[in-house]
Point group: C2
Chain length 237, copies 2
DNA sequence: CAACTAATCAAGTACTCTCTAGATTACTTG
DNA sequence: CAAGTAATCTAGAGAGTACTTGATTAGTTG
């Protein structure tokens, strides 16, 4: 075999390997599964329910993700728990989202039609929230389901699942400013929380990012087992 | 329609849009085309030749990339020139490569079998090269084809296409240390250059990254039209 | 303006992927 | 140890993707 042919075979194999990752990311359902797993571990059943997939179908997609090395699983009793296998998995799905946001006019239109104008009140950036949290001037609300809060949340945040916010409104301190966050930029929980809070005369804004972005940036997180292991202080990213 | 059903439809459409990017990245050939385009613009013919694809096939893959917003094209005379549409496109393919490197044992094995031990001499990091380049102690060699050098290279680098290195060995200064780079971590040009230089008694090492990584990091680049527009100085990334 | 060339288009075949439905496995619990 | 449940497996139909071949388009050049 000539040297060139050897190179060609190598390149085909090399890009074939990279394409395994691309293939795993080529299905809408699998991307949704990855985004849910970025919030924390989940069982197949939970994932199937939340995505509206059949158990068998969800299971098959998860196995495709596993074959590409993107997720790991572990059987505990009757349940199989899946999790992202590496922080780089979230990074690639975030990079993919960024390209889509910048380059797909259809996506921009879809988001505009669904959310309308989301720039009033103006969303808070991670940097800004970090600064304010340090000075204690702000109450951070995690509007995701409690289990997601338990498996990791912004250090200092209160768990207020969106469905419970209404009846817990009175318990919330007055005079403070609120910042609500949820799963990510396309999650509606934080929008709803802000709306509800403002309707009740509070100052409230939405964090533009979600918990996975916060965590990936290396900002302070806490979880149920190890409450607030890091102080809320600036960190190099 | 219930609120939940509306949400479901939105999510399906949302992830459907993200999946358009994933689908574009799901083919080995398309990933190779993107990597070539990261070196600089190219015509369909050039891409077809370099990848070993038929013209028609290359054209079709390029159109798939274009439909996903990853590349743009422009007709100039008989030729259609393609280019990456946005820096985020390189970022996503880099993120994909990172996941593959970390998670696919097959890939690790493939690279080991093809390159053997690449850690002697130890590759130079971008940081390290930047430091050394500032002090003028090092000669940087761009071993890619001249057209790729012309469309962008590390500031201060000399163009020495790998095929011409042998007869230009004498022209190269003695006593200096050389750092060779090429298209990226899986490109062999720099390895060959280092081998050749060392066989001729020079001190030479390989840059672990390629030009696209250097550029994406925001480090100083130059191109033919605007030689050395930035000084070689440290930059925040 | 005829000959030439880069690129795309159109159509067909082979292949791969997706989802469903029903069967099966592995583990738990009464 | 039988009944129940989470998850997977198997097989098959339908949809989508990839590559080839030959025709066509758009632009250049003698």
């Amino acid at each position: 075999m000539t040297a060139d042919a050897t190179q060609r075979v190598f390149k085909d194999r090399l890009y074939g390997q990279f394409a395994r990752i691309g293939k795993a990311l080529s299905s809408a359902h699998r991307l949704e599964l990855l985004e849910l797993l970025a919030q924390g571990d989940r069982t197949v059943e939970a994932l199937a329910t939340e995505t509206g997939l059949s158990m068998a179908n969800a299971s098959q997609h998860l196995q495709a993700l596993r074959a590409a090395g993107l997720v790991e699983n572990e059987k505990r009793g009757l349940f199989v728990h899946y999790r992202l296998s590496d922080p780089s998995v979230f990074e690639v799905s975030r990079a993919l989202r960024t390209v889509a946001e910048r380059r797909l006019a259809d996506l921009q239109r879809l988001v505009r039609d669904h959310f309308g104008d989301r720039s009033d009140p103006e969303p808070v950036s991670m940097e800004e929230l970090l600064d304010r949290a340090r000075s204690g001037r702000v109450v951070i609300l995690d509007t995701r389901p409690a289990t997601e809060y338990d498996s990791g949340h912004i250090a200092g945040a209160l768990s207020v699942p969106i469905g419970e916010l209404k009846q817990r409104l009175k318990q919330l301190p007055k005079g403070k400013e609120f910042v609500a966050y949820c799963r990510g930029p396309y999650c509606v929980y934080a929008d709803r929380a802000v709306e509800l809070l403002r309707a009740n005369g509070r100052r409230a804004r939405r964090l533009s990012a979600g918990f996975p972005e916060w965590k990936a940036t290396g900002l302070p997180v806490a979880d149920q087992r190890h409450p607030a292991p890091q102080t809320v202080s600036r960190r190099r990213r």
